[in-house]
Point group: C2
Chain length 205, copies 2
């Protein structure tokens, strides 16, 4: 998308908005813990947190490693301007919340889960609250899915721009597509489904 | 908003999206001429054009003065990646289109309308197609409205973040609010109305 003149800030804004809109389509307003990873998947989560706040949810952030890159410090500052707290005790927060957003790892994750995220995933594998994963459930391989069993089992998956191969292994209730910014000609070639009217997300199953 | 860490690309993306969503709420799909000015109002128009294309409209751009600033060249490049044409003959295009978007001047406009926009406004004052103005109708004073009569008479006004004082003089059919990015605490202080669910726009009258 960069060759078409897009900035990462634009695409991340639309991606995160579509995640928040997908959540608002299925879950009642309530407390949301957003687990934020160190890369773009985490950035999408920070944007989603801010829009969820606008939509009437009470989001907080679990953000164990905060990169110093300008993009991420800005997104965190925006969340703070919305009064969105950063919390330290994930196990405690997931007890008090209604839903959890998994914005830890995305499509570029490979190999083994390193600290501190091994503990994060361990906590999230043990909860009974609905988990919403952005693009690829954390701990999954983008193509193979979750063969080693270390990944999460989300209730909702929000694929961005187009579903990744691993989405065939998704066994939760809601599969949505977001990131409505692929030029329509390309979208037709990629067999991306039609979004309804001006919606930023569309339910796939 | 800059002190809260926002970039202009983010805010413009949400502003332009809200303009496109407002239009999609009231006008059937069809041909749209977006008249693009030299500043931020024009930037909002370029973003709106792209989202209108996603929503199934056929937008084209009338863009007589194209600034070389990176922000604007990128937004134009994105439109071109969507196959959105730049047209030269405004009088001819307004005859063929269904609606016109006025993204020429915004809230910072003062004084007299200079070339080439004097001719642009002259053409647009004479048409019977619905005009959608972004934030402030072009040629209007942000507070006083259109006392000299050189400004446009839009059918729809999409105010951004909050209605400007001149909106009291708006005599068209549809007044919408967009730019859903003001932190909720501040929005309450400013008496900004509630948006429905995850909508990026809300009808005011």
């Amino acid at each position: 998308m960069a060759k078409h003149g897009y900035t990462i800030e634009q695409l991340m804004e639309l991606a995160g908005l579509s995640v928040a809109a997908s959540i608002a389509s299925e879950y009642p307003k309530g407390r949301v813990v957003i687990c934020v990873g160190p890369g773009n998947n985490g950035g999408d989560g920070l944007v989603a947190a801010r829009h969820l706040n606008h939509f009437g949810y009470q989001p907080c952030l679990y953000y164990p490693v905060q990169p110093t890159k300008d993009l991420y410090t800005r997104l965190l500052l925006q969340c703070q301007a919305h009064g969105i707290a950063v919390v330290d005790d994930l196990a405690d927060e997931v007890n008090k919340c209604d839903i959890v957003v998994d914005a830890i790892f995305g499509f570029s994750f490979k190999g083994t889960v390193r600290a501190p995220y091994d503990e994060t995933l361990s906590i999230l594998r043990g909860i009974d609250k609905p988990i919403i994963s952005i693009d690829v459930p954390s701990g999954w391989d983008v193509e193979l899915g979750n063969p080693q069993g270390v990944g999460l089992s989300p209730d909702m998956l929000v694929s961005l721009t187009a579903p990744k191969l691993c989405a065939n292994h998704f066994a939760g209730r809601f599969h949505y597509l977001g990131g409505r910014f692929v030029p329509p000609d390309l979208a037709r070639d990629l067999d991306i489904p039609q979004y309804p009217d001006s919606s930023q997300c569309v339910r796939l199953l």
